[in-house]
Symmetry: C2
Subunit: 207 residues, 2 copies
DNA sequence: GAATGTGAACTGTTTCACAGCC
DNA sequence: GGCTGTGAAACAGTTCACATTC
């Protein structure tokens, strides 16, 4: 099993290799290093962990390498996602994702507000939260994006897990708890901003 | 200098301690562990690295501990931020940040669209991108949030760095390059979703 | 000669485990 | 007994450096 950090880098390589494929057929680790900012040794190590090999003569064959990464990362069919909480952030994400189909589709959204339920908002059908179970089952939903207010996050998460969701992206500041078998990623923007503020303030004052 | 990971945890402790302060005056590491999901040893180690000490009898004094964290993390005055790119995501972030004042204020936004420049959008004065330098200088801006389309990210970033910004949060998928002395955090949502999809699919199938 | 593939070394982070304290 | 504080061990992630290959 590849580590979280390795996966993040592979996802990045994949995107960059897609760009490169337009211009050329082979690439060296030091070139990928230049494009990604990771060290060449790191990149060779990652590619090794995929089980793919290049040659000293011409480096890595871009198309083959990319296919190898895709095989590891991507499922055969697209990912079906839902989004809970159609507020400002929720709507922004819905709009953003219109551009990423079909690899990632948000196929339904949910809100507890009866004024939103039943309408199409930001290009996505909004349901009332009580229909959660039915939609997840019918549409074979695998991932959920949580953009409700922090106080509601744990309740919504519990309901999602109960209904068989096992991958979550939580945009609320609440640190919700999930069973071990469920994978959750917290994207706490406030925390990220505080971190940047800290390191910007305490930056190395050389150069 | 504290590490990135330690800082992230400290920011979380701070928020949780603020909650706890309403109910009680002292807390044990294992209680903080329960609330945060990090191990008790980890928490003791982090607090040690702050130079703060508790007592075996009653654990850590919440108010003192929180003040210690704040001294490390927060500047005396609030952080002035700007946001570049008033699209969907940009507007969502602007709205979201209205609630976080005064610790973090987005004091201006910028866009290359002349229809947006001059208006107040999502509670924030929008300027044309060419006024960047003037506003940064006048308003003592320290941090910038980049929410432009990926293709424009590097150009905007260069302009920001040129104008003396040394902390950036980049929401575009582009991996922009900055000088060593500038701190940048990438929040690539697409990448995060792919990662969650991967780990959700390859999850441990026990329990 | 310049690249890959990789054992070994190194660096950073987390956990263990226990002395010391109340 | 149950807590903190912390050296030491364990683990994870990255880089080094070099034998090997084209």
């Amino acid at each position: 099993m590849l580590s979280k950090k390795t996966i993040e880098r592979l996802i990045l390589y994949k995107k960059i290799l897609e760009e490169c494929a337009k211009d050329t057929t082979h690439i060296y680790s030091h070139q990928l290093s230049e494009l990604t900012g990771f060290s060449a040794a790191q990149i060779r190590r990652d590619i090794m962990s995929l089980g793919y090999s290049g040659t000293p003569k011409s480096g890595y064959e871009i198309k083959q390498l990319n296919d190898t990464i895709k095989t590891q990362l991507e499922p055969k069919k697209g990912i079906n996602m839902i989004l809970i909480g159609v507020g400002n952030l929720g709507r922004a994400i819905l709009t953003y994702f219109q551009g990423l189909k079909p690899a990632f589709s948000i196929i339904a959204s949910f809100d507890s507000d009866l004024h939103k339920a039943g309408r199409v908002i930001s290009g996505c059908q909004c349901h009332h939260i009580k229909e959660l179970g039915a939609v997840i089952e019918n549409k074979n939903v695998q991932l959920a994006i949580v953009t409700v207010p922090g106080a509601e996050a744990q309740g919504v998460t519990d309901a999602l897990v109960q209904n068989g969701i096992f991958g979550l992206v939580n945009f609320t500041p609440a640190r919700v708890k999930v069973p071990d078998a469920v994978f959750i990623e917290h994207i706490d923007m406030r925390l990220q901003f505080e971190k940047v503020a800290y390191f910007a303030r305490n930056r190395k004052v050389n150069s």
